[in-house]
């Protein structure tokens, strides 16, 4: 009999995210971003984190603004529909944040190498670019067979990957659907995996469709029930992207005062016992609801 891995958000973050850890988040790029878990790191005042992810769409900026981050290894740090991430930008300009610049492909290769247990992966991207000058994890090497130049990307093995999923059982088995970004590689490369899930379901639901599983349960350290835990990013089958929240964050994050007000509205109230769904409010939840259902046809795994 397996032991349950179900924890509260607060327990999962305090047990598996330590100060100084490297944390992979936002791995599906624009969808399924684990905002609830990131906000818990802000509330617990985590320090000196190294954040790893392809594009992060404002979550990394929020953690930088809250003083949780020492280093970022990513391809793009900003706000997808508005542009700059202001805390990130200020921190780099004031030299309080270390950066290793990746492209989406080099980051995917770094995590793939970590997932496969090899020291590096080769790719043909970035040759001749200046990414090499701001990322010592990229080196040009010659292909041992043909002699052509390739970029060698050093393996990344994060301490923990935090992934938001649609549904999971209490043992860490889960279903994720939609675009996946580098979710698969990040989970397999990391020492620990924390899943935050819209729904906790019976194991039979998960084993009923094992192709929908991105990481097997035995690689998962904690499962957290976190409804609306991906908001304002979209979660396929559950809710749409909250564009207004990204625009509002852009406006708030321009100044430290604005950021404090944003944090007071969206992050801190959870410590006073309010659920995120309550903070969001009924009208807003309804406006983001899935309007056009499109369930898939079940497949048969019988024998």
């Amino acid at each position: 009999m397996d032991f349950t891995k179900r924890l509260s958000l607060s327990e999962a973050v305090s047990r598996f995210v330590q100060d100084g850890d490297s944390v992979a988040m936002g791995c599906a790029q624009e969808t399924l971003i684990p905002f609830a878990a990131g906000h818990e790191m802000i509330r617990r005042q985590k320090k000196n984190l190294t954040l790893i992810g392809p594009i992060s769409d404002i979550l990394f900026d929020q953690l930088v603004g809250a003083g949780c981050v020492a280093e970022i290894r990513a391809a793009w740090i900003g706000n997808v529909i508005t542009g700059s991430a202001y805390h990130f930008r200020r921190a780099v300009e004031e030299k309080t944040l270390r950066i290793k610049d990746h492209s989406n492909l080099t980051l995917a290769m770094a995590l793939k190498a970590g997932a496969m247990g090899v020291p590096f992966m080769p790719t043909s991207t970035a040759l001749g670019s200046d990414l090499y000058r701001t990322n010592p994890d990229l080196k040009t090497v010659s292909c041992p067979f043909s002699g052509v130049p390739v970029t060698a990307v050093a393996a990344l093995t994060p301490d923990v990957a935090v992934v938001h999923v649609q549904r999971a059982d209490i043992f860490g088995n889960s279903h994720v659907w939609g675009n996946l970004g580098v979710t698969r590689e990040a989970c397999l490369a990391s020492r620990h995996v924390i899943l935050t899930a819209e729904e906790i379901v019976d194991t039979k639901v998960i084993t009923g469709d094992p192709n929908r599983v991105v990481v097997p349960g035995f690689r998962v350290s904690a499962v957290v029930h976190a409804p609306w835990g991906g908001h304002p990013s979209p979660v396929p089958g559950y809710y749409n992207r909250d564009h207004q929240a990204f625009i509002d964050y852009r406006n708030c994050s321009k100044t430290p005062e604005g950021f404090r007000a944003w944090r007071k509205e969206w992050v801190d109230p959870v410590d006073d016992g309010r659920t995120y769904a309550e903070i969001l409010g009924k009208a807003r939840r309804e406006s983001l609801a899935i309007k056009h259902r499109r369930p898939s046809v079940p497949v048969d795994y019988g024998y």
Partner: protein, 264 residues
């Protein structure tokens, strides 16, 4: 919902971003595989697909392939209508594999700074050691510029952005000129056009240098030169960018009904 700091210049009957989206769409040929970037290129692909390139296939870096337009307007590629009814939902590595194998015909990227050889900077203004401004970074742009058969750059045309030399090469163009891409080992490709707020530029096949080939209505070659940080070569038969047709405008408005990206 309207983006406040969008382009302000207006021309009769259509907006400047609508003209740029139209110009971008016209770079796509039917049956091509297109790696679709953020912002205006999202609309460019939808426009091409709805008009002259109905068989084009769109690849999105977050792990989406579609051969139909999204059933509803989207602001960004991760919006759920862009996932619904997709041909393939998969991993970034799968999308990048298509690109790296040489199966992507054309891609679109934006830039903050560009030089005469089409090298792009979207990372550090003022050098990386003491940057004046830190920009978001590569995302997939470096990959698209490195590995697509050709790529199109879409950006604002200002003197501080069109520089003799960029402060940092995020996305390689033709580097230092002819033969550079081959020398550093890039397997193919290079920039094919730069669509700006003032005109369209292409690259001389021999010198690999940017050439002004088309000016937008109401813009002169002199204006373009005055907004460019090096002596710009101009094509002998300088054209005027054809404005969007009524059909093209209808499609753009259908996919950007609030004018978030293209104004109203």
């Amino acid at each position: 919902m309207k983006k406040k700091d969008a382009f302000e210049t207006k021309t009769p009957g259509y907006t400047l971003p609508q003209l740029m989206v139209t110009a971008a769409a016209r770079e796509v040929f039917d049956h091509e595989t297109v790696f679709v970037g953020m912002r205006l290129p999202l609309l460019g692909f939808l426009l091409a697909k709805s008009t002259h390139a109905p068989h084009a296939v769109g690849v999105y870096e977050l792990g989406v392939v579609r051969d139909t337009v999204s059933p509803e307007p989207i602001l960004t590629m991760g919006d759920l209508p862009n996932l619904s009814g997709a041909s393939w939902l998969a991993d970034t590595i799968d999308m990048m594999g298509l690109l790296q194998k040489g199966l992507v015909d054309v891609s679109f990227i934006g830039g903050a700074q560009v030089d005469r050889f089409g090298n792009l900077n979207t990372s550090y203004i003022g050098g990386f050691r003491s940057p004046r401004t830190r920009l978001p970074g590569s995302g997939g742009a470096c990959d698209l510029a490195s590995l697509a058969k050709r790529h199109i750059i879409v950006m604002t045309h200002e003197k501080r952005r069109f520089k003799e030399k960029v402060d940092y090469i995020t996305s390689p163009g033709y580097g230092e000129g002819p033969g550079w891409r081959e020398r550093v080992g890039l397997p193919r490709g290079g920039p094919c056009a730069v669509i700006t707020t003032l005109g369209i530029l292409r690259f001389d096949p021999d010198s690999k240098e940017m050439i002004l080939v088309s000016v937008h209505p109401g813009v002169s070659a002199e204006t373009v030169q005055s907004h460019t940080g090096w002596p710009l070569k101009t094509a002998r038969n300088l054209a005027q960018t054809p404005p969007p047709t009524r059909e093209e405008l209808t499609v753009i408005r259908r996919f950007d009904p609030g004018g978030y990206w293209t104004g109203t």
